[in-house]
Amino acid sequence: MSARSTLATAARVLTQLRHDHRTIALVLVVPSVLLTLLRYLFDGQPETFDRVAGPMLGLFPFLIMFLITSITMLRERTSGTLERLMTMPIAKLDLLGGYAIAFALLAAAQAAIVSAVAFWLLGLDVAGSPATVIGLAVANAVLGMALGLLVSAFASTEFQTVQFMPAIVLPQLLLCGLFVPRERMAEALEVASDFLPLTYAFEALQAVTEDGAAIGDLGLEIGVVAGATVLALVLGASTLRRRTA
């Protein structure tokens, strides 16, 4: 591995994003708009808004980075640039690390903006520290990125990639406890949710926003999210083949 190739890749990915003004605008603005929508959906029920919007803040980056990464990596595979890179002296982890850095920065910007809107303009009130929420949001973004990277290996067109969103992300979102507390689900689903990383991402966010937990209290949740990220990255790296049929 080399820091030079990792940083060069991060800079390249950020430059590609910088040229794509519309995507940047969508990534940075849409979550705030959705949260505003939520605020007036629960008009007159500030407790409900606080309960839903707090964790949502930290889940947006997961969704968006999943989508962006899976498509960017698919393009890298289909445009031949991945094959070119695989003939060059760059380690697979340099490439993935570069993506992770670039998208984590984007996620941090996204989380900061949506947090600013939520806390200052929409009057979101959480028990814990907003900084912890942003930190978790970035961790979730990196998890989304790692999963997106992995699924890009199983799609051959952008059309298929987009279909992985409802297939991989939506079930996790439904089962994570955001919509229905997990103990009220059918037992099979509750057991299934124990094995989904987003469950732990949500529980960490919930603990911060409702119970005022600090990073130190969230060892298990953060450990699972980090472990799932590493696992997905390693599996993702194994799908980047120097030699193909």
């Binding site: 030079r4 190739s5 060069a8 890749t9 800079a11 390249r12 430059t15 590609q16 040229h19 794509d20 445009s79 031949g80 640039t81 094959e83 070119r84 890179l85 695989m86 003939t87 060059m88 002296p89 760059i90 120097r242 030699r243 193909t244 049929a245």
Partner: protein, 246 residues
């Protein structure tokens, strides 16, 4: 004659067998590519040129046989900075400018950024450097892809149809560039399905149906067949081969 000694050859392929998509593309090909010359890999579309080139740069899974590049097995990590490869479809980022593309590949290769300007001059794209690759013509994109392969002063250049669709004047200039690189000791393997290009090469590998039909200098092949026109030479060589078989 072509030098085939392991020491001198930049690329040595022996009994290479490759299967792709269920069919055998290369049933067992052997050949050598020398340093310091431009070797043309000529043959009709679909004859296995690209598969052979992919095997040489080490991105093709092979069934049997050996491919050695600069004395090492193709695809070895130590070769990654020494072999430049241009795929048939330009493999560059359309959403970056020409300069941004080249700067990225230069950094990955550990080449100084001054080389970016040098290769831009070589492919005559200096004036366009800050244009987005997505807005370029097909020929310009192909030149960006070629420029990326020239970065890092590779010792072996594998170029898959680099001159297709280019302006004739530019094509001539590029052949001049290839010969200048060869004069510096670089081994170049250049594929084409257009026989006219064969005249620009020092050595020829004529391929058909995954096998070599003939090898030699253009002059030697002309002499062997008694015709001047190289497409005609190819036809005669195939006929001679078919006759020898029956």
């Amino acid at each position: 004659m072509m030098t085939s000694g392991e020491e001198l050859a930049a690329v040595a392929v022996a009994d290479l067998r490759v299967r792709r998509g269920g069919g055998v593309v290369l049933p067992g090909i052997s050949l050598a590519v020398a340093r310091g010359v431009v070797t043309g890999l000529l043959g009709p579309s679909g004859c296995g040129k690209t598969t052979l080139m992919r095997a040489i740069v080490g991105v093709q899974r092979i069934e049997s046989g050996t491919v050695r590049v600069l004395g090492e097995p193709a695809g070895s990590p130590s070769l990654r900075a020494r072999v430049g490869y241009v795929t048939q479809a330009p493999s560059v980022y359309p959403d970056l400018t020409i300069r941004e593309n080249l700067r990225y590949f230069a950094r990955v290769l550990g080449a100084p950024s001054s080389e970016v300007d040098a290769v831009l001059a070589t492919v005559r794209l200096k004036g366009e450097a800050d244009r987005s690759v997505g807005r370029l013509s097909g020929g310009q994109r192909a030149r960006v892809s070629l420029a990326a392969a020239l970065l890092g002063e590779p010792e072996v250049l594998v170029l898959d149809e680099p001159t297709v669709g280019l302006d004739p004047l530019l094509r001539r200039e590029l052949w001049g560039t290839f010969h200048a690189l060869a004069a510096d000791g670089v081994a170049l393997l250049v594929s084409s399905h257009v026989m006219d290009e064969a005249a620009h090469c020092d050595q020829l590998l004529l391929m058909r149906g995954g096998a070599l039909v003939a090898t030699g200098t253009p002059a030697a092949l002309r002499e062997r067949t008694g015709v001047e026109d190289l497409s005609e030479v190819f036809v005669r060589l195939i006929e001679q081969r078919e006759m020898a078989r029956t």
